[in-house]
């Protein structure tokens, strides 16, 4: 039964891969090689460190803290990166007589999709310890793998429970954005504390206390470390195994409890309250503003995009992240740079705005037809050139980009970060120029790598990972002309040169946008059938986020 579920998912993913062609497969492989290559290298470093007999004292101190870090990453990374991995789509499977324990087992196995890098690190550290004679060497062959397996099982089941809990919280109107935002801020708040003067001292004291606290054998990471290190850690390994087993059992109970609650939870009921458009005359007037300067059908599409995106929870979350998450990510560098006058502190507003531009990509311009799904066929059925539809979607994206910049500038003013009106104007100009390049790239990816997006789900798209990867690779190139303008200002200390370079970057941006649009229109004409097929594609028994 479990094999049948996994096979059905594999088949549906395989069919999708075949439909996305060889180029798509190559990109997926490149991205996977880069990502897992990085983590394999890190695992190799961990192996080398834990295998060094001369580092015996440091390993005893570092290992519990390291395992705490692995645990934190395991549980928080899927939330912070807004990708919660594959999960069972219970609505599709509940009609079959599948025992719930089997579904739970598959759910736990699927958590591996979000933690392969953690497993690599654990494996590296475990192999290093087995090679280290200071901790028993290969004589610890039974003890070290047992600790790793129990620790991994604890994390897997905890992650399964947390995922179910968070998914239910995120499906509730009103609190979903707040919860998602809170979870992400939790991930970056430590960085903020580290660099503020008050937080810095506090952080140093906290950091000093992490090592002994983490080493406490009653914590799962402490117990795992004691078990892996053996008697040299001062605690009998079997006692540590027993503690770890208790933690794993508790995680199992928590995971199973949350999973069963998820089975009984009615997502449709939770979301039903969202799906009613309240009469908002003011908002209606705002939606109709584009009619002042745009003709139909361009204006009709822009209005439709504004309405649809504002009503899409996933878009709202990313938009809010743009100015809040962006500020928190870059604020530490800004505060540190106030002393050293770094590039970030001098151009803080621009940096955060360009970062927000990247964040908005996934919900606006890099997959412009994603939220439309199969309804995108209307753009091909209606009597308008597809270039109009793309241009209208770009205009809507630009409106949100400028609103985002305005929100960031307002937040900076509220935080009294000393942003001048000149800097605000400069940010708008620079963001507009950078947007020209990125919208061009986005139009190409929208027609070459389209995929349907679920408007209700607040987390990111696994299916969109490839397009995001492509954008991530192209991002530095797209920003290069703007970067060169800043480089010129830094090198020559001349505003005229800076603005001249920006004008050149804008002219080049217009040309590139134009060429990208021509190319996207040709691709839309040639790939019309496969674009609509991909946008109408359903998912297998599991959903990937």
């Amino acid at each position: 039964m479990i094999r049948a579920i996994l096979r059905a998912q594999w088949r549906s993913m395989h069919i999708f891969r075949l439909s996305s062609g060889r180029r798509g497969a190559v990109f997926s492989v490149i991205i996977a090689v880069l990502w897992y290559g990085f983590w394999t290298a890190l695992a190799a470093v961990a192996e080398q460190l834990t295998a060094a007999p001369q580092l015996r004292a440091q390993i005893k101190s570092w290992l519990p803290a390291g395992l705490l870090g692995v645990c934190a990453y395991w549980q928080l990374a899927p939330l912070a990166s807004a990708t919660m991995g594959a999960s069972l789509d219970l609505r599709k499977l509940l009609v079959y007589p599948v025992p719930r324990r089997s579904l739970f087992l598959v759910e736990i196995l699927l958590r591996i999709t979000t933690c392969a890098e953690s497993l690599l690190l654990l494996a590296g550290a475990a192999i290093g310890l087995l090679r280290n004679p200071a901790f028993g060497g290969w004589r610890a062959f039974a003890r070290v793998p047992l600790a790793v397996i129990l620790f991994a099982a604890f994390n897997l089941m905890l992650a399964a429970g947390l995922r179910n809990l968070i998914e239910r919280l995120l499906s509730r109107k009103g609190i979903r954005e707040a919860i998602a935002l809170l979870l992400m801020l939790v991930g970056v708040l430590p960085r903020l504390l580290m660099v503020t003067s008050f937080g810095g001292a506090l952080w140093a004291r906290r950091l000093e206390s992490v090592f002994p606290t983490a080493a406490n054998p009653f914590w799962p990471w402490g117990a795992a470390a004691h078990c892996m290190l053996g008697l040299s850690a001062g605690v009998p390994p079997m006692a540590a195994v027993a503690v770890l087993a208790v933690w794993a059992a508790a995680a199992y109970l928590f995971g199973r409890w949350q999973f069963m609650r998820g089975l009984r939870f009615d997502f449709q009921e939770a979301q039903a309250t969202v799906a009613s458009a309240k009469a908002r005359p003011f908002a209606e007037r705002l939606y109709r503003l584009p009619a002042l300067f745009l003709p139909d059908p361009l204006c009709a599409i822009v209005e439709k995009e504004l309405r649809s995106l504002v009503r899409t929870p996933r878009f709202r979350l990313v938009f809010v992240m743009g100015f809040s998450f962006g500020l928190v990510v870059w604020l530490p560098m800004m505060l540190r740079g106030r002393v050293t006058h770094s590039a970030v502190s001098g151009n803080f507003l621009t940096v955060v705005s360009v970062y927000a531009l990247f964040l908005l990509a996934q919900v606006t311009y890099s997959n412009a037809f994603g939220f439309d799904g199969s309804a995108a066929q209307l753009y091909f059925l209606a009597p308008l050139a597809i270039s109009r539809a793309l241009a209208a979607k770009n205009i809507a994206a630009a409106i949100f980009i400028f609103l985002e910049v305005a929100a960031i500038a307002s937040a900076c003013s509220l935080l009294r970060l000393g942003i001048s009106p000149g800097q605000i104007a400069e940010t708008f100009v620079v963001t507009a120029i950078a947007a020209l390049y990125l919208l061009g790239v986005g139009n190409l990816s929208s027609v070459n790598y389209p995929r349907p997006m679920n408007a209700q789900r607040v987390s990111g798209g696994g299916g969109g990972g490839r397009a995001q990867g492509v954008l991530f690779l192209l991002y530095p190139f797209a920003l290069l002309p703007v970067f060169l303008a800043y480089l010129a200002r830094y090198a020559l200390d001349n505003q005229v040169v800076f603005w001249g370079a920006l004008v050149c970057a804008a002219a080049l941006g217009v040309a590139i946008y134009w060429m990208a649009m021509e190319s996207a229109v040709a691709a839309a004409r040639n790939r019309r059938e496969s674009i609509l097929a991909e946008l109408s594609r359903g998912e297998g028994p599991m959903v990937t986020e």
Partner: protein, 251 residues
């Protein structure tokens, strides 16, 4: 009424790899005709409609709609065609009124006209619950809204893929009356449906497609030959060779 047929298709083929979804299709649908396009699952009906709308490029052959060749005069054709597709073309995060206004403006109507027509269509199709997002609509309501959208620009040719699927009896009756009214004013309707009683009651002419090829075509009277029902004809033409084999374990 112009002399040219509403739909003239010649030697139309659509290949997927070496498999022909539509194979040398020749079809002529006169103007003002209620035309039924029937066939078993996977016979090529939806592919044909998608080629007629320009969503799928044909592998070979020619298509003329309302006397204009596709794709040469694609935009002009689109302005005069209304479509109810098998897949949803509705934007879930809009209300019914917003969606109809949007479609009207996409087809060149002024905003005021689109708003007025949208409201009258919502009333006609009993979808006047103004502030409800399309995401909340039932399947039948979605089909009714899709049909309303196909009417808003007053087209001369309707291409409809299973328009009654999921619609309740009252809604289906309303939709049939509206379609018959459109034929009376001179519009042409090209309809696919698996509900043969509906086709029998509505259509003037019928073509049956099987494995990508037209296997029967004619007026309803010609096809039925006086005594047979359309279902009998359909089963005889496309399913006569199929026998019912009982499964031992199902007894």
């Amino acid at each position: 009424m112009p002399d040219t047929p509403a739909i003239a298709v010649h030697d139309l083929c659509k290949l997927y790899g070496d498999k022909a979804a539509v194979d040398s299709l020749d079809l002529t649908v006169p103007r003002g005709c209620f035309f039924g396009f029937l066939g078993p699952n996977g016979a090529g009906k939806s592919t044909t409609i998608r080629m007629l709308t320009g969503l799928v490029p044909p592998s070979s052959g020619s298509i003329e709609l309302l006397g204009m060749r596709l794709p040469d005069r694609e935009l002009e054709i689109k302005r005069r065609v209304g479509l109810v597709p098998d897949e949803s073309l509705l934007f879930d995060r809009l209300t019914g009124a917003e969606f109809l206004e949007f479609v009207g403006r996409m087809y060149g109507l002024a905003r005021a006209v689109a708003v007025e027509r949208a409201q009258s269509l919502l009333d006609l199709f009993e979808l006047s619950e103004k502030r409800k997002f399309i995401a909340e609509y039932s399947k039948g309501m979605r089909k009714r809204l899709a049909m309303a959208a196909s009417l808003i620009h007053h087209p001369d040719l309707f291409l409809m893929d299973e328009p009654f699927e999921g619609v309740d009896a009252v809604g289906a009756r309303l939709m049939k009356e509206i379609l018959l009214d459109q034929v009376r004013r001179g519009a042409t309707i090209f309809l696919t449906s698996h509900v043969l009683e509906v086709v029998e009651r509505l259509c003037d002419r019928v073509a049956i497609i099987d494995k990508g090829r037209i296997v029967r075509e004619g007026s309803m009277a010609e096809l039925r030959g006086g005594t047979e029902s359309l279902e009998d004809v359909f089963v005889r033409v496309v399913g006569a060779a199929r026998e019912f084999h009982e499964l031992e374990w199902l007894k």
